[in-house]
Structure formats: C-alpha cells, structure tokens
C-alpha cells in the first residue's frame, strides 16, 4: 500500500505580529484578531518564494528518508502562487535537488488544495506502479498575493512541506480517500492579476460556503467507504486559513475538538495556503505513535475537497528528525510591518532601476 515515507518542513524565518498590521490599518475591531486567532504569521524574505521554500523542504525530506536524489523517480509540485504563470516550477525544483532528468515531474497549480493534490498524484503514481518513489511538494507564498489593507493580510503566510511517497518503508499508509468538487468562487485570482479576491466575503455564512458544501460530502463518503467510526479518530488535520475554520469543520463534521484543535497552527504561522493542511499533518506525524488513525481534510478555494484516512505504522517512532514542525515554527524572528511590505514586494518601485542610488 502506498504511503508517506518521510516528510520535510520549511518555513521562512521572519515573523510579523498581527498587532503591527492592525496598528497601521485599524481595519477590523481588535477582538476580531483574537476570534480569528490572528497572532503572527510568516513573512517570506525578499529572496524566498515557493520554489526556494519547496526545495528546502524537499532536501530535508530526503535527508529524513536517508535517500539520494537519484533514487527518486517522480516529482509533483503543488502551489497556487507559482512564481511563473507558464513555466513549470517542478523543473527548477527537480534540477535544484539533483533529481534525474528522465522522471515524471509536473506542477499542480490551483487553490489551497494543490499541495495535498500533489500528494494524491504521488500516491496514484506509486499505487499504479508508474513510479517507485515520488516527491510531493506543497509550497506557497500567499502573503505576496494579498493586497495591503485586506483582512486576509493578518493570516496569509508562506511555507512549504514535502512528502516522499513510496510503497516501501512507509510511516503512514492510506486506508481510503474520497473527493468532492463543485464550482465555488470563494477566493480567486483572474489570469494576469496579482492579488487574490474574495467571492463570498471574509466573515459570515458565505465565507465558508465552499468549505462546508464540499468537505461534508467528501467526509461522509470517506466514512462510508472505510467504515470509519469518527469516535475512534485520534488525529485530524483540517483547513486552517483562519482560527475559525477548524471550529466550523469540527462542528459541521461532528468531530471532537480535542482531535482537531491541537494540530491547528494558524496562531503561530498563519495560513500557509496549499501547505497548510500538509503542515498540520506533519505536526500530527511528529506526535503520533504507531497504529493510529489520522484523517486529512482539505478544501481548496474553488477546487473542491479531499478527505483522506491514514494509519501510522511501526516505523514512525524510529523516523529520524522528529519533531520537524515545532523547531521551524519556533525559530522565528520578528520584522516590522514596513519591512514586511518591502519583502512582499508591495511597495511601488520603478521597474528598471539602475541602483539604489540613481
């Protein structure tokens, strides 16, 4: 059975406090920050983007697995903020890692589900026998694509997670997987536009219409297929763009809060986009023991939902490099809002500068 062999996490070092953004814009009532768990988020450095973060996480993943790049025969890169609109990021990532050129490599590029869809594609490649070991990279720099002054700026963040997928030496195996996809324009970026736009509003019922309407059927189908007893679940990685989202998911799917909330990282790192739920899954794998069930629930803006049931194996406790998430989360250094604006390229500048002086 195909499953996860190893995982790697990379988060930018810089952090921005929500109170700094609020002091500049005062665009929400102060208690909203607390209600949505907007505490701090990552800020990508001027020299970081989804490709560099993805490469960093993939290198750590291969190190954890003890595998050489030459042993990997597939690469799937999932991101909704690829630095290129046309050119593939997977080829840059593949060459930077030193993967063989004769392998299948592709990008999955849409909404917040693209990262976990990279994992799904990797599982399919391994399960079908087309590849032996596949790297699935989920990476995003959402913060560069949220306009200054928008409420989402408190949460939109950056980071990357990689999984090595194989049928051998797995630490977590897939028991079942189900999908539900319907057209919902809750967040989108029209071709050529830089900034994300909202279709359904940031708060209120309409803000989570796509989330609930897609995730609920996917979850029900997963329970039906696998015969899962939701009460027996120990861990759940759920969508966490804001601190409210996990509460909505737990309530509507009738999951125990103790199963969901310990693995929500919104308050520490913000919304890492397509790497958000994979990051939460890594946090679960950092702490889970062998033979435990983990459910992964993903919703990507306008891209539908995936529900995946995993069980951990006897190899998990002996996996080196655990924990991998909290050391990355805790190594943050704070920057102020003006510096974050500069790093996220939100300040207007001439497009062809001679130097900083002229």
């Amino acid at each position: 059975m195909a499953g996860i062999v190893a995982y790697g996490v990379a988060l930018p070092k810089r952090r921005l406090r929500s109170s700094d953004i609020h002091a500049t814009w005062r665009n929400v009532a102060e208690d909203v920050l607390e209600k949505f768990a907007f505490v701090e988020r990552c800020v990508p450095g001027p020299d970081e983007d989804p490709i560099t973060l993805g490469v960093d996480s993939a290198r750590r993943c291969l190190e954890q697995a003890g595998r050489e790049p030459g042993e990997v025969d597939g690469l799937v890169f999932g991101s909704c903020t690829n630095p290129y609109s046309t050119k593939a990021a997977a080829t840059v990532v593949g060459e930077a890692l030193g993967l063989p050129n004769g392998i299948f490599s592709t990008d999955v590029q849409f909404g917040g589900r693209s990262g976990s869809d990279a994992l799904t594609v990797a599982l399919a490649l391994v399960g079908s026998g087309m590849a032996r070991r596949v790297l699935a990279v989920a990476s995003d720099c959402l913060s560069r694509h949220v306009p200054p002054g928008h409420v989402y700026e408190y949460s939109a963040s950056a980071g990357a997670v990689s999984f090595l997928v194989s049928a051998e030496e797995t630490v977590a195996e897939v028991e079942g997987i189900s999908y539900w996809a319907s057209d919902r324009a809750d967040w989108f970026r029209v071709a050529g536009e830089r900034y994300l736009q909202l279709g359904g509003g940031f708060v209120g019922h309409m803000s989570s219409w796509g989330l609930v309407e897609n995730l609920l059927p996917a979850w029900k189908e997963l329970v039906r297929r696998t015969g899962l007893d939701p009460a027996s679940l120990q861990y759940a990685a759920v969508p966490q763009s804001t601190g409210v989202m996990p509460l909505i998911v737990a309530t509507r799917l009738e999951l125990d809060m103790d199963v969901v909330l310990p693995w929500v990282l919104t308050a520490s790192v913000g919304d890492v986009g397509s790497a958000g739920v994979p990051l939460s899954l890594c946090h679960v794998l950092d702490n889970a023991g062998p033979g435990e069930k983990v459910v992964v629930l993903v919703y990507g803006w306008g891209g539908g939902a995936t529900a995946m049931l995993l069980h951990t194996t006897q190899r998990l406790p002996s996996l080196p490099g655990r924990p991998s998430v909290m050391p990355e989360v805790e190594r943050g250094e704070y920057v102020d809002y003006s510096r974050a604006l500069k790093y996220e390229h939100k300040l207007l500048r001439p497009d062809r500068g001679l130097s900083g002086y002229y």
Binding site: K13, D47, D49, R194, L354
Partner: protein, 146 residues
C-alpha cells in the same frame, strides 16, 4: 491593480538568461569540477585544471555543508545593484566539508550573530533578476541551528 511583482530588473551587472542557464548546475547544487589526473577540486567549474593543466575534468558536486572561515558585512552604505531589498547583507568565505572554498552570501543571519567557525548549510534562494526578467535562483548559505 498591479499585475506584476515590482521587483526591478537591474540595468548593470546583470545576469544573462543564456549564460545563467548554462551555469545553473553550479548555482543550484554547487556542481564544480574534479581533475581526473591530479584529483584537485574546483568551484566554479573549470575546463582546464589550474594546477596540472589537464583538460580531463569531470563534474563534481561539492558538499552542501561547511564552516565559515571569515565574513564581512556589506558596508558600502548603499545597497548593491539588484540587492536593494536585503539589508544587513553578509558575504562570507565558507570552507566546504570537502575542502573547497566558496565566497557566498549568508541568508537570514545578520553579521552581529555570526562567528568564524559557525556551521552553515547550502540553501537555494532567489537572486537578482536576469536581463530578460526571468527569476534567477542560486546558492546561499544559512547558519545551522544549534
């Protein structure tokens, strides 16, 4: 609404897309050369061995971990062309674990928190844009935790 990231394309000291594509293995993974006759290691890659003048060189991927030999903060007083967004830029001489020396930039650690002898590891970072506007990626080094 702005449709493009306002990251300027520098007009001088600029990378050519064609040249940078040819040298990408060195920039992405520190691929240099090893002389087949005298076994000397070179980075960046060479076509003639500077030590024994042999032309028999093979690609060699240098170690991705090393030690800071010396470092200096960028004290020009104004930002270098194409590096305007990086304040506290630090340039260092790093001795890789296989003995090769590279001059490189240290990412994310200001000079005040760096010491000679610190362990560093290679990371991929975005460098200044190429002449066509293409993103250029290359190595920098990051201080290892602990």
């Amino acid at each position: 609404m702005t449709t493009e990231l306002p990251v300027p394309i520098p007009r001088v000291e600029i990378h050519s897309t064609l040249r940078s594509a040819r040298e990408r293995e060195g920039r992405y993974r520190l691929v240099g050369s090893r002389c087949s006759s005298c076994q000397a290691l070179w980075f960046p890659r060479r076509f003639v061995c500077p030590r024994c003048h042999s032309r028999e060189l093979e690609p060699y991927q240098c170690s991705h971990r090393g030690t800071v030999v010396t470092f200096w903060p960028d004290t020009m007083g104004f930002p270098a062309i194409g590096y305007e967004e990086i304040e506290d830029r630090v340039v260092a001489l790093v001795r890789l674990d296989d003995g090769v020396h590279v001059i490189t930039e240290i990412a994310d650690t200001p000079a005040g928190r760096l010491q000679n002898g610190d362990r560093v590891r290679m990371v991929l970072r975005r460098q200044k844009r190429e002449d066509t506007g293409n993103w250029c990626y290359g190595y920098k080094f990051e201080k290892e935790a602990g």
